[in-house]
């Protein structure tokens, strides 16, 4: 046995909160190290790059506000996803649900002619419903016809993306947009207030924080939350206990899609004030939110922290584009790596690996 590393793998009964935190931290660090290789390929020292990202996203008031602005849609989508994931519904479609929420809100802003004070509330309600409808389609397909939720939610993203494209190139193309593929600018009553000097549309931020708390209470303190947890932890036991999979799945996707829809409202009413190209509305928030929810281990309260972390990473993307001249897409590489290491690290939550000192006589 000499010269061989001796180690033992043991099953862990239950990972403590501290272990989960530590393992997640190491997963992120590992992703940072591997992402460093890409910076090196571009001839940029990874240490310098990370310094710049941190300084750019947290080191100045402007950077900080941009980080928070990015965190808002991640928070809303992420909280919604935790609810779906807890019930074992693999909603990969927050991106599409966000867009459909934006479409519904834009429709109300552009065409409803509602009195001014009612306009924004109506846009939030409409945005919630837009996202919820987009979320309920795969829920119904799964429970009634047994169609795989990953595939339907993912495919519905593309339908939503091209639907938005069609709207802004076709019927909703604004006469005042001078040939660009935009809708007209919304009336002022449809603009969300921002914290002065920043792009933080605070009503959406507060909505996100309140919903995070509400969803935490929903999951842990209510009957519906109990049903969600039982279905998520053991679907067979849920059936045995007479818990309706249809009802619960519809509920979680109503919430999950609806919250993503609210994120869409925030983006168009708080940042852009018009409906525009899907990649401008979202920048992949719906996909990044999957990682946000996963890193939070599907705890809605923890999403507050993890969405901020990914806000840092996304505003870091602006920094590397501006200061280093590197493509923003590097951020997606980085996000992908984090998810990869995060999923890979799950094994350390289930098993304990202890190294044994080799026994030498």
């Amino acid at each position: 046995m000499r010269g061989r590393v001796n180690f033992k793998v043991e099953r862990r009964p239950i990972a403590s909160g501290f272990t989960v935190f530590l393992v997640s931290l190491f997963a992120i660090l590992a992703a940072l190290v591997v992402a460093g290789i890409f910076f090196q390929i571009y001839g940029v020292s990874p240490i310098r790059a990370y310094q710049l990202i941190l300084r750019g996203s947290l080191g100045s008031i402007f950077g900080l506000t941009e980080t928070i602005r990015r965190a808002i849609p991640l928070l809303l989508c992420g909280v919604g996803l935790t609810v779906a994931f807890r019930a074992l519904f693999w909603n990969i479609g927050a991106e599409g649900q966000l867009l459909m929420g934006a479409v519904a809100a834009a429709g109300i802003a552009l065409f409803s002619k509602l009195p001014d004070p009612l306009l924004l509330p109506a846009m939030f309600v409409g945005g919630f419903l837009g996202g919820a409808v987009w979320g309920l389609i795969p829920a119904i397909l799964k429970v009634i016809l047994g169609i795989n939720d990953v595939i339907t939610t993912l495919m519905l993203n593309y339908i939503a993306i091209y639907f938005v494209e069609w709207l802004i190139h076709g019927p909703w193309k604004g006469p005042s947009a001078r040939g660009f593929a935009y809708s007209d600018t919304f009336p002022h009553a449809a603009w969300l207030p921002t914290i002065p000097g920043t792009r933080i549309h605070w009503p959406t931020l507060i909505l996100g924080l309140v919903l995070a708390v509400m969803m935490y209470i929903l999951i842990n303190r209510t009957k519906s939350g109990f049903e969600i947890r039982v279905i998520g932890e053991n679907p067979d036991a849920a059936r045995y206990a007479g818990i309706s999979q249809l009802k619960t799945t519809l509920l979680v996707m109503l919430i999950s899609g609806g919250l993503a829809g609210l994120a869409g409202v925030g983006e168009i009413a708080g940042i852009h004030m018009r409906l525009l190209g899907p990649s401008h509305i979202s920048m992949g928030y719906g996909y990044t939110a999957i990682i946000v929810a996963w890193l939070a281990r599907c705890n809605p309260l923890a999403v507050v922290v993890t969405s901020l972390l990914f806000g840092v990473i996304m505003s870091g993307g602006d920094v590397i584009k501006v200061s280093l001249g590197l493509p923003f897409q590097l951020i997606n590489v980085f996000n992908g790596l984090i998810l990869l290491f995060l999923i890979g690290s799950e094994i350390f939550l289930r098993y304990k690996i202890s190294f044994l000192r080799s026994l030498r006589r």
Binding site: R11, T222, K223, F226, N234, D236, Y240
Partner: protein, 511 residues
């Protein structure tokens, strides 16, 4: 013989730990070449773990495996097969959609190049099958075979790989008494041919009937190894349990009350879409235990599922106290105060990651006792848990311990506490003591008898004939989804039941 003094296998100081338990605690075991050696012990004594170590499925934390005087590293089942050790698991490792011969050569590099030579394989299989009385059609698909035949395929699989040592893990649990006889005669032929057989069991009769020597395990340690000829059932039972065993439970005479359950001409399909129940009819009265006996897979599980609303029937009617409940949902039936103690307690009876108190309200969380306006009342839930834990003597650190950390016996007590808390009218109990140690088994049986005394109607589905004989007032035997007959438990004869389990219809008077 050689220097090993005729030992085929020697295990020295085997230690295997799992979180919170030491499954094997310094086990020494010597198996002689050409013997049938029984490993006897209660569930959880470490028999299967020990054999999985020998078969390369587990790596021991300490200890040595010695084959023919040489220490070996058993790194995988393939390594075990290379050393000519084979194992027939309690739950078969067969691919149901493949044929018998395909299963037998699975993983072997047979034939020439990429081509298989099924004719040659078939001849080889038939030769072995003939020699040992393991008749089975090599071209049949495995899913078409009865359980007993599938077991033959498992044995053939091992013999085809030319094993010298064959480990059998509780092989009789799926067989009728007659099939057991046949298996034993096969085993004797194998031993006459020079094979060594290690036979895991917790049934004393089998030890006495088939083995040459027996090793008794208790709580991960060897209690004793002795020649079967010098042993008797009482001593073995005492060694196995560590105290005197009372084989009888006190049972009061039946006080039959009003009719609770009426089942008429019930048909249902199994998961594969074949008829699992073919015209079942029976009545069940308050204050009695009606047992359902039968070889596993003859419709018992489907019957329990149809009665509790987890499976739809295709024909026939079910009445609970004159109210029709045919094809009602599980929730509706639960609301009518029907208890269901499910067969696979961990897979469907509990939510492992949730706490004891949460598992105790798995069905009752909807009632106004535990919730108000959609919110759960944690105080009431805790109170309920404290109460249940003391009433049913559930041993656990606290009510908010995740239930998966509990032993099988304590998990079953949580399920019983939950299901029986509302004094149900009908109790459907499926394998309620399966896998429990003797202490927990006794407790569970006593609880069922108390419920019977209270006047509940109990349908007990079990594969343990001893349990059926101990607890029941009447015995219904199922074969291939049909009722072979209903007997009075007082006068029932095990041989008669065995024949019925194999498909003979009861000729006596109808009950």
């Amino acid at each position: 013989m050689d220097s090993s003094g005729g030992y085929a296998v020697e295990l020295k100081g085997i230690v295997k730990r799992f979180p919170g338990v030491i499954a094997n605690d310094g086990i020494d075991l010597k198996i002689r070449r050409g013997e049938i050696h029984c490993l006897l012990g209660e569930n959880g004594a470490g028999k299967t773990t020990l054999m999985r170590v020998l078969y390369g499925l587990y790596r021991p934390d300490e200890g040595e495996i010695i084959l023919n005087s040489e220490p070996v590293q058993m790194t995988s089942p393939r390594a075990a097969l290379d050393h000519h050790i084979g194992m027939v698991h309690q739950h078969f490792r067969l691919v149901p959609t493949l044929t018998v011969q395909e299963n037998i050569i699975l993983g072997l590099n047979e034939g020439t190049g990429p081509f298989m030579n099924f004719r040659k394989t078939r001849e080889k299989i038939l030769a072995i099958a003939d020699k040992y009385g393991l008749l089975v059609d090599p071209q049949a698909k495995v899913w078409q075979l009865a359980v007993g035949q599938q077991q033959r395929v498992e044995i053939l699989k091992a013999l085809y790989r030319k094993v010298d040592i064959l480990i059998m893990d509780e092989p009789t649990s799926v067989l009728t008494p007659q099939e057991v006889e046949q298996l034993f005669s096969t085993l004797r032929t194998l031993v006459d041919d020079g094979l060594t057989i290690i036979f895991i069991t917790h049934k004393l009769d089998e030890v006495m009937e088939v083995s040459d020597r027996v090793t008794v395990l208790r709580k991960g340690k060897v209690v004793s190894t002795l020649p079967t000829a010098k042993a008797d059932k009482t001593t073995l039972a005492k060694l196995m349990v560590g105290r005197e065993v009372v084989f009888r439970l006190k049972k009061s005479p039946m006080k039959r009350r009003e009719k609770i359950l009426e089942v008429r001409n019930l048909y249902a399909l199994n998961d594969r879409g074949f008829l699992a129940l073919r015209g079942i009819s029976f009545d069940l009265f308050g204050g009695e235990i009606l047992s359902v006996a039968g070889v596993s897979g003859n419709g018992q599980n489907e019957l329990a599922e149809v009665l509790t609303g987890l499976r739809k029937s295709t024909k026939g009617r079910i009445f609970l106290e004159k109210k029709e409940i045919t094809n009602c949902s599980a929730r509706d039936i639960d609301n009518l105060n029907v208890a269901h103690i499910p067969a696979e307690r961990i897979r469907i009876g509990i939510v492992p990651a949730l706490t004891i108190s949460e598992n105790l309200i798995l069905k009752k969380y909807r009632s106004s006792r535990f919730s108000c306006k959609g919110f759960l009342n944690n105080k009431k839930i805790e109170e309920n848990a404290r109460c249940a834990m003391s009433n049913y003597q559930i041993a656990a650190p606290s009510y908010d311990t995740p239930i998966k950390l509990l032993s099988g016996g304590n998990i079953q007590k949580v399920i019983l506490a939950r299901e029986l808390s509302e004094n149900p009218r009908l109790i459907v109990a499926v394998h309620p003591t399966y896998g429990l140690d003797i202490g927990a088994t006794e407790q569970v049986r006593k609880i069922l008898l108390t419920q019977r005394e209270r006047g509940a109607a109990i349908l007990l589905i079990s594969e343990d004939l001893e349990e059926i004989m101990t607890l029941s007032d009447r015995i219904m035997v199922l074969f291939n989804g049909e009722v072979m007959g209903i007997l009075d438990a007082e006068s029932a004869d095990i041989g008669e039941i065995g024949l019925m389990m194999a498909g003979t219809r009861y000729e006596g008077e109808k009950l």
